[in-house]
């Protein structure tokens, strides 16, 4: 189609005219929708507050500075709790997520009709609800504290771990698996020798990646009473103690940077 002849010449273009026009038209519609939405948002915005924003932000920044460093001594314990929530939550998620992954992968599931849809349902339902919402639910069920936070993190992470792992299982090289099957190995042995070595790098990578995400998520769980440093953040915010908020934010930032550094090191070491 995109080849036309002009005299003796064969001219090649990426698209023919009809297709080119369709693409141009799609862009036109997209831009029109964007402009329309922009107008609605603009009408519903109180622009006075927006123009005022830099002054307010500078005001809060001024109150927050200098950070109240002496507050740090009270923060080590909740920060330690936060890291524990993230780490234990990730471990629990791995313990629960790995079997779900093997049930969900088409090449390892024992029953495509019953267990696989169930596993996929677990993956979708745990993934689609934010950990803050899980924490809210769990705090009202089992009461406030670190345990609720750990469970919230764990449940939220099951879907993540299981989904990425089952995709890795489905992408394994069938030749290596067949070779193990051909030796007369049992199903479990085929998994242990043919599949597990192939998915180890993916497994290690996604575990530290999820741990790294969970450090971030667990810092805010305290906002709904699920333990950790978020509890101190919310109480400092409530009494407008800006210098304390500044210390907490800096601490979270440092923790996140460190966790990211650790997870990238671990991933490099494994792959």
């Amino acid at each position: 189609m995109p080849v036309t002849t002009k005299g003796d010449l064969k001219v090649w273009q990426r698209r023919d005219r009809a297709k080119q026009f369709k693409i141009w038209f799609a862009w036109l519609i997209g831009v029109a929708i964007f402009m329309f939405c922009w107008e609605i948002i603009s009408d519903k915005t109180t622009w006075f507050f927006v123009f005022d924003a830099p002054r307010i932000a500078a005001d809060i920044g001024g109150r927050a500075w200098p950070p109240r460093w002496s507050y740090l001594s009270e923060l080590w314990k909740p920060m330690w709790d936060t890291i524990n929530i993230a780490t234990l939550g990730t471990l629990l998620a791995i313990i629960m997520g790995v079997p779900v992954a093997f049930l969900a992968a088409t090449n390892t599931t024992p029953s495509k009709r019953f267990l696989r849809p169930l596993a996929l349902l677990i993956i979708v339902s745990t993934r689609s609800i934010n950990s803050l919402v899980w924490a809210l639910l769990l705090v009202s069920i089992i009461g406030p504290g670190i345990f609720a936070g750990t469970l919230a993190i764990a449940i939220r992470s099951i879907g993540f771990v299981a989904k990425l792992l089952y995709e890795a299982i489905e992408e394994t090289d069938i030749n290596q698996i067949e070779a193990i099957q051909a030796t007369g190995a049992s199903k479990l042995q085929v998994i242990a020798y043919g599949i597990v070595p192939q998915i180890m790098p993916a497994f290690a990578g996604l575990s530290v990646f999820r741990w790294d995400i969970n450090i971030r998520e667990s810092t805010i769980l305290g906002l709904v009473g699920a333990g950790g440093i978020g509890l101190y953040l919310s109480s400092s915010l409530n009494i407008l103690a800006w210098p304390q908020v500044a210390v907490i934010l800096i601490m979270i930032l440092v923790a996140v940077v460190i966790s990211e550094w650790v997870s990238s090191k671990v991933r490099l070491a494994i792959i």
């Binding site: 030749n175 290596q176 070779a179 030796t183 007369g184 190995a185 020798y193």
Partner: protein, 271 residues
């Protein structure tokens, strides 16, 4: 004695890959299976150990009918059938020793194999075999660190440690250079003679097949069209198997003795 009776395979796509193949291989015989791509060579080999499930006919190995076995019985019977693959099909992230030992999985319980608690007798045998194929000095290397020829040697050791009664060999040299191909084929034919093993080897290289096998079977469109000694392969026969082409150059006699003296040195060098 391996007997195939009226063996047929129809894939779900409706293609008849095998149309009632009858073949009998006495103990200790190395059979070369030649034929054009898509003739059903791989299917035939995989139907023997039921990596591909045949639709009609029977496979019998030393009076045991493989095709009527249950899943558990098949696993037991597969221990007696070694298999060597075109792309080696080693588990990349396992060591050479673990890859060789995977040939013993059918004889081991799950937890012993999971924790790599291999019986000393098996380890002794692994060392003997690795020495025989020239790799005993690198047992702890990972399989993905090896060259193609070395990988295929590990593949051979894995098949032999099963203590098989027959070996199924699927294009063992298709990914190797001409010299390594000869070394691998020579190793296979020597080992079959030493252990009085029967073997079927799929092979594209007609000259190589003539050099090392004692009987050649020609497959075309899922049917056997030739069965005889290597020197019976005339241009007429090759035309029947593959179609019209100038075959004189292919059947050229190769001087084997000269080749051996060069190879022995190069084996040493490549190690």
């Amino acid at each position: 004695m391996l007997q195939l009776k009226n063996l047929g395979k129809r894939y779900k796509t409706g293609d008849d890959a095998l149309k009632g193949v009858n073949l009998e291989i006495p103990d200790g015989q190395l059979v070369g299976l030649i034929g054009p791509s898509g003739a059903g060579k791989s299917t035939l080999i995989r139907c023997v150990n039921r990596l591909v499930e045949p639709t009609t006919g029977t496979v019998t190995l030393n009076n045991i009918e493989v095709t009527s076995l249950s899943a558990g019985g098949l696993r037991k019977e597969r221990r007696k059938m070694g298999m060597i693959f075109q792309e080696y099909a080693l588990v990349d992230r396992l060591t050479i020793m673990e890859n060789v030992m995977s040939g013993r999985l059918g004889y081991m319980g799950f937890w012993k194999s999971f924790f790599r608690k291999y019986p000393q007798a098996d380890i002794d045998e692994a060392f003997r075999l690795l020495e025989r194929v020239g790799l005993d000095h690198m047992v702890d290397k990972r399989a993905d660190e090896l060259s193609g020829g070395q990988k295929q040697r590990v593949g051979i050791a894995r098949a032999l440690i099963q203590d098989p009664e027959v070996i199924l060999i699927d294009e063992p040299t298709a990914s190797l250079d001409p010299k390594t191909s000869r070394q691998i084929m020579r190793l296979i034919s020597e080992l079959c003679r030493e252990r009085n093993l029967s073997a079927i080897v799929n092979i594209h290289d007609v000259a190589l097949a003539q050099m090392f096998v004692e009987r050649i079977v020609g497959l075309q469109m899922g049917e056997i069209v030739f069965d005889g000694a290597p020197d019976e392969l005339t241009p007429d026969v090759l035309t029947k198997i593959y179609g019209e082409e100038d075959w004189e150059a292919t059947i050229d006699e190769v001087d084997e003795d000269e080749d051996i003296t060069i190879d022995e040195k190069s084996v040493e060098a490549s190690i």
